[in-house]
């Protein structure tokens, strides 16, 4: 394969993996605190609309990212209030959030449906961008991509090396013990949930402001659910989540390249479009069949409501 094409494929893989890794890291932190929020798809959709609307209104991509972040966090606050404060069933509350968010984004987004944004230019990293192959593939991205790399490092460091991360994991493993030694379990879970929502919102804004600078109903198209599957795939570890996200980015790109390659293959585009979803199923099966591994790695209190006086 010629170098230019390979670099283009790698470049597109990183772009396609970026919203997945951002959303998956947010959900991973929430799940490590014991909170299963199935609303990622809805939070991403609302983040995408809010991000697009803000970026369009103020002509600024950072404003779009900020709006996506706040919108995602706001959405997750609804979930946190229901599931954490009022101890509602987390599965039901998360589903409600997804259904609501997808509907809300369609409703609000109607006004922005025919608009588009100026593309956010790529930021070449000096020196590194001149490397053969890796330069154009990795170091000529829009700035939010680099931010997502910092995020991966920050979350990995936070969970494994920082004291606060240790406390957060303790809350996910055993809220009762964490409470007994004086940690504010509910507050920590609230913060973890808000962080998860904020990241889902940023992931949505990446889609609508950076990746394809427009809003279209249904543009999230299951990426929030794939991010949830990635957390399982990653057995709740940030670096593995990043690896998985780029793997999926690769699958998405492969189908796009096949569709656009003019290789004269008689495969209907719908079959290729189904590949990422089928890949998700296959990966879930491959990882889940090792029950031991799932049980050892998943936070013990995942999905269980907890109240201090209960």
């Amino acid at each position: 394969m010629e170098n230019g094409l390979l670099a283009a494929i790698l470049f597109a893989t990183v772009v396609a993996g970026t919203p997945l890794v951002v959303a998956a890291l947010g959900e991973l932190v929430a799940e490590r605190a014991g909170v299963l929020n199935l609303g990622v798809e809805g939070m991403m959709a609302v983040g995408a609309v809010a991000g697009f609307a803000a970026a369009h209104t103020w002509g600024s991509a950072p404003a779009g990212v900020g709006a996506g972040l706040l919108a995602g966090a706001g959405m997750s606050a609804i979930f946190a209030f229901l599931a954490l404060t009022l101890t509602a069933n987390q599965v039901a509350a998360g589903l409600a959030l997804s259904i609501f968010g997808v509907g809300l984004s369609a409703f609000v987004g109607k006004a922005w449906e025919s608009e588009s944004l100026a593309a956010v230019p790529a930021t070449r990293i000096p020196l590194l961008a001149d490397l053969p192959l890796l330069g154009p593939a990795l170091f000529s991205h829009q700035w939010l991509v680099y931010v997502s790399w910092l995020l991966i490092a920050a979350v990995a460091w936070f969970l494994s090396r920082s004291r606060a991360g240790l406390v957060l994991r303790a809350v996910g493993e055993s809220p009762a013990s964490a409470h007994a030694i004086g940690h504010p379990v509910l507050r920590i879970r609230w913060l973890a949930t808000l962080f998860g929502g904020a990241m889902a919102g940023v992931a949505g804004a990446f889609l609508s402001v950076f990746h394809t600078p427009l809003w279209a109903e249904g543009m999230v198209a299951g990426k929030g659910w794939i991010a949830l599957a990635l957390v399982v795939f990653a057995t709740w570890r940030p670096l593995r989540a990043a690896f998985g996200a780029y793997l999926f980015g690769g699958v998405m790109v492969a189908q796009l390249f096949l569709q656009g390659s003019g290789l004269q293959i008689e495969i209907p585009s719908q079959f290729l479009s189904a590949l990422p979803y089928l890949a998700t199923v296959i990966v879930l099966v491959a990882i889940s069949r090792n029950r031991q591994k799932i049980r050892l790695n998943s936070p013990v209190s995942l999905g269980q409501p907890w109240r201090p006086d209960a």
């Binding site: 009022l86 259904i99 409703f107 879930l284 006086d309």
Partner: protein
């Protein structure tokens, strides 16, 4: 710290665990949720700068204004009640089939396949065969997550959801490709079904069809299964305490299979009823999100068939209200999804009173 806070805000409301769940609140909370949703609809219209009374009447009165409108309401409620009845069987056992949307589409595809294969035959067996094909198609699609759950422990939530997208893409391929109506000006749709492949109408002058009594039958069947059968009892135990169910020797894997297949078959039937009913053909957007809305119906109906019947009417009201809002108020019809989500939020919020009660606590003595 507790006492400190009490001193500052002496009558701070607190929620306290009840000694036992309140049966009254179990029934009251859907009602409270419905009322809060009505209030929410009014508030949203106010925020949008529209007359809230007009908004309320468009959403809640227009769909009830005459016999034809009521028949349309029942028509809309039919797939919701049908799917939710099937889903509730699984939800009771903590089997989370979230992919009813995809099972609906596959049921519609299976029934359409038969209708197209036997086109112009006028055969009397066609319609009954389409019922069977729809149910089997939906059940087969639901069998995939059931198999992957029981054999490989893969989350049925995520697998059934991924298959929604696969099913939709499959339908899209069919109506753009092999099944496209050659005389359809390239629209992504099949030919209109012949008379023998259409559900008979119940009332002249309306679109209400045979699927309505089928949905009622499904609600009754779900009630009999859940309340009167041993297998239904086992499933509830499996849902409430998996460890206890295992200990008692109740087959947990069977609960997964029954739950998934019931939901899939019901969704597939609903899909069949849509193509053989109001649509009369298969198109790309056959499902109209009924599969997701039915999840809300199942919860708001308390996973109980009678409740599901009522909840499906309420959700149908919101669906039609959305269409009316588009027509009369110039709002996107997706506003109904916002209200549907709101309804579930309010229900989950109100449910706190089943397990907890609100106490206005008198200040504790400092100590």
């Amino acid at each position: 710290m507790q006492a400190e806070r009490a001193r500052r805000r002496p009558w701070q409301p607190r929620i306290e665990a009840r000694p036992a769940p309140s049966p009254a609140w179990r029934w009251l909370s859907p009602l409270v949720a419905a009322l809060l949703t009505v209030a929410g609809v009014a508030a949203v219209f106010l925020a949008l700068g529209k007359d809230p009374l007009e908004g309320l009447s468009v959403f809640f009165l227009n769909p009830l204004r005459d016999g034809y409108a009521i028949a349309e309401l029942l028509l809309k409620a039919t797939p919701l009640a049908l799917i939710a009845a099937g889903l509730a069987v699984g939800f009771r056992a903590n089997v989370w089939n979230i992919g009813a949307e995809g099972q609906f589409v596959v049921g519609a595809i299976a029934a359409t396949g038969l209708a197209l294969a036997a086109h112009d035959s006028g055969a009397a067996w066609l319609l009954p065969a389409m019922f069977v094909a729809g149910a089997l198609g939906g059940a087969a699609w639901a069998a995939i997550p059931a198999l992957l759950k029981t054999r490989f422990n893969a989350s049925e939530i995520l697998v059934s959801l991924m298959l929604v997208y696969v099913a939709q893409l499959g339908a899209s391929w069919l109506v753009h490709g092999p099944w496209q109506d050659p005389a359809g000006f390239n629209f992504p749709q099949t030919v209109m079904f012949e008379e023998a492949a259409l559900l008979p109408l119940l009332l002249e002058g309306t679109r209400l069809n045979l699927a309505f009594p089928v949905a009622i039958g499904a609600l009754i069947a779900a009630w009999v299964f859940m309340q009167r059968s041993f297998a239904g009892f086992q499933m509830q135990v499996a849902g409430q305490a998996e460890a206890a169910a295992r200990y008692a020797g109740f087959p947990v894997a069977r609960a997964v299979w029954i739950g998934m297949l019931a939901g899939g078959a019901a969704a597939g039937l609903a899909g069949m009823a849509e193509v053989a009913g109001p649509m009369g053909q298969l198109t790309e957007h056959v499902s109209n999100q009924y599969g997701f809305a039915a999840i809300i119906v199942a919860f708001v109906g308390r996973l109980h068939p009678a409740g599901i019947g009522l909840a499906s009417l309420l959700m149908a009201l919101l669906y039609i209200g959305g269409e009316q809002a588009q027509q009369y108020l110039n709002l996107p019809s997706s506003i109904s999804k916002v209200f549907q989500g709101m309804l579930l939020f309010f229900l989950l919020g109100a449910d706190v009173f089943v397990q907890y009660r609100l106490r206005l606590r008198a200040p504790r003595l400092a100590g």
